[in-house]
């Protein structure tokens, strides 16, 4: 169709600088599961942003007169043993979980990418040192490493975020290193050199953008893992501190009421599951859309 119009009116086709990501977006849009995942994610983001508007009860405090009320008109998701409204806590908890998910992943990506780029591009001893460092980190079960890091830094939500960021560095570092190894052999790197471009510029302008796709995919899936890890640390009492409405912490605090008041566990459990599923579905879709070779 386009070619015929081109023949008739060649002048009228205007220069349309379509960015490359637009094409990627088009491909994602066609994938139903990815869009479903994205809508779950957006739903939780929206809830997090609108938290104060959505809730009519405070998420913190002690209200002895309304402990362990089952879900109903008054309290949609019921209340816990402290009399706190579970709906409010989950809505505010969305902020915490997403915040931890995003920022820990961004942190690991920044550090991991820098290390991976250096290792892949410069090779030799830089590669040996960085790769061995990754190997050592991967030798520990990641949650154990996170526990150790939090134990050193002291238990708090922010330190949990730092720990989660650190333990995920090798995942991204190794991923980008392997990409850099193949991208740096591409002919356009040689041609960039031949026009007199410096190594640093080649690294950030040519190699990084061409290596980043799997990182974006892995990062999206990684948010789900990070949320789970944060919940696990919270459950162990190493992340969120008493009072903070972190979903994992909520599970831990309520596990003794499983038989008497199952709603205290069910709703935070569902919340964790839904966000994780959302991010995973979106991440899988991203991979299919951005990296056709992986299919």
């Amino acid at each position: 169709m386009e070619s015929t119009s081109e023949v008739i009116k060649p002048v009228e086709i205007k220069a349309a600088k379509k960015p490359l990501w637009l094409e990627g977006w088009k491909r994602i849009k066609r994938q139903r599961s990815a869009m479903f995942g994205l809508s779950i994610v957006l739903f939780f983001i929206l809830i997090g942003i609108l938290a104060p508007v959505l809730t009519s009860y405070p998420y913190d405090g002690f209200y002895p007169d309304r402990t362990l009320i089952p879900p109903g008109e008054e309290h949609w998701f019921g209340t816990d043993d402290q009399g706190r409204d579970i709906f409010s806590r989950i809505v505010f908890g969305a902020r915490i979980s997403l915040w931890i998910g995003f920022f820990s992943v961004i942190g690991s990506i920044i550090v991991g990418c820098l290390l991976g780029l250096i290792a892949g591009f410069y090779g030799k001893w830089a590669d040996s040192i960085i790769s061995r460092f990754f190997d050592i980190m991967l030798a520990f079960p990641s949650i154990l490493l996170a526990i150790a890091i939090v134990a050193i830094l002291g238990p708090s939500l922010f330190n949990a975020l730092i720990a989660i960021a650190i333990i995920n560095i090798p995942t991204y570092g190794r991923l980008i290193r392997s990409r850099v190894l193949s991208v740096k052999e591409e002919e356009y790197i040689m041609s960039a050199r031949s026009i007199g471009m410096s190594d640093i510029r080649i690294l950030f302008q040519h190699i990084l953008p061409n290596s980043i796709t799997p990182i974006i995919v892995q990062g999206t899936l990684g948010i789900a893992t990070a949320i789970l890890e944060a919940a696990a640390l919270g459950f162990l009492g190493l992340g969120a501190q008493p009072g903070e409405p972190e979903w994992g912490k909520m599970l831990a605090d309520s596990r003794q009421f499983l038989t008497v008041a199952p709603w205290t566990l069910l709703f935070p459990g569902f919340a964790i599951m839904l966000t994780v599923v959302g991010f995973n579905m979106f991440g899988d879709g991203l991979r299919d859309a951005l990296d056709p070779k992986m299919k």
Binding site: P10, G123, M190, S194, I195, G196
Partner: protein, 341 residues
């Protein structure tokens, strides 16, 4: 003519796990201003490595210039600091590569990539660089350059991409353009177009061109002088006319003979028997002797020097004169036959 590039006694070796590979072993030649020189040879003859040595783009830490000098204008390029070399690359010496399909970054528009080549060396605004990119694209024969400047490489055919690569190489009006098999990856009609373009550039500007190729047709099309390389050495150097009419080295003779003729019908095309020797089994004496139909005992023991004829033709063969005489006679006979037909 003033010499622009003087390569003297260049030795580029590769240090691999299997030992030292002498890819370029004592190569000397001069490229004068405005001249087009062809470097011809089989795969593995060291012609591309010569080009990469000039550009100082040898594979990181594996390949090294161990001896010899490369003078560009009045400056030695050997042992230049990376920063100084970068100022020359793309600005004074530019290069076109073999694979146009992969030589452009898929993530940026062609305009961005040409602008970048300009802005690396010249302090111009983004807008001006873009305008110059459009001019360059027009110059290399890209239709509708105003629009194409915003296209991504994957929308372009191989021939178009090679034109873009040429535009990029010309971005800063280089004094020397190194073309490493610029037409090898293209189909024949496109090859002709690209050669025509290079021919046009040659006529329009004073840019010297170093054309690396294994295709003698390309040489006859655009070059003034030809250097024939074999196993890391220059075996013959001559004007294009002499190369085709009176080659004085058996290897050159073999290359010319293997071109199919349009006048003579033959059942089998002529070939040169054997292969380029692998680095670990380099013959002593003349490197071409095992494949040479003229080989004598002396050839296997000592290596001939480059001998120079009066016309400036040079040949690395003990029998240079005899071969030249023979080929001259054969050519004139062939011409007679062709004329009498």
């Amino acid at each position: 003519m003033k010499p622009l590039l003087t390569v003297s006694g260049l030795k580029t070796h590769f240090f691999t796990d299997e030992g030292v590979v002498r890819s370029v072993d004592g190569v000397s030649f001069i490229v004068s201003e405005g001249e087009t020189i062809g470097i011809v040879g089989e795969s593995g003859s060291g012609k591309s490595v010569t080009a990469l040595s000039i550009m100082n783009l040898l594979p990181y830490k594996k390949g090294k210039i161990v001896e010899g000098d490369i003078m560009f204008q009045d400056q030695s390029l050997v042992g230049l600091k990376p920063k100084e070399m970068r100022a020359i690359r793309g600005n004074d010496i530019a290069m076109i590569f073999q694979e146009p399909m992969t030589s452009l970054n898929p993530g940026y528009t062609i305009g961005d990539q040409i602008s970048e080549a300009i802005r690396l060396h010249k302090k111009v605004r983004r807008k001006e660089a873009r305008k110059r990119s459009v001019d360059l694209l027009t110059e290399v024969g890209i239709p509708n350059a105003e629009r194409m400047v915003d296209e991504y490489p994957h929308k372009l055919s191989g021939g178009m991409r090679q034109r873009v690569m040429i535009a990029m190489a010309l971005a800063c009006d280089p004094k020397l353009l190194i073309a490493d098999e610029p037409t090898t990856a293209l189909d024949v009609t496109i090859q002709a177009q690209i050669l025509e373009l290079i021919q046009k550039l040659k006529n329009d500007s004073n840019t010297s061109i170093l054309m690396i190729t294994h295709d003698l047709a390309v040489v006859s099309e655009v070059c003034d002088r030809v250097i024939v390389m074999y196993a890391g050495r220059v075996v013959e150097e001559a004007s294009v006319k002499e190369i085709f009419e009176s080659p004085s080295h058996p290897y050159t003779k073999g290359l010319i003979d293997s071109i199919p003729s349009i006048d003579v019908e033959v059942e089998w095309l002529k070939t040169i028997k054997g292969n380029v020797p692998i680095p670990s089994q380099m013959p002593t004496g003349c490197k071409f002797s095992p494949r040479c139909q003229y080989a004598m005992e002396r050839c296997t023991k000592e290596e001939p020097e480059l001998t120079r004829f009066e016309s400036g033709q040079k040949s690395r063969c003990f029998l240079a004169k005899e071969v030249k005489d023979e080929t001259t006679i054969i050519r004139s006979q062939e011409l007679e036959v062709a004329l009498s037909d």
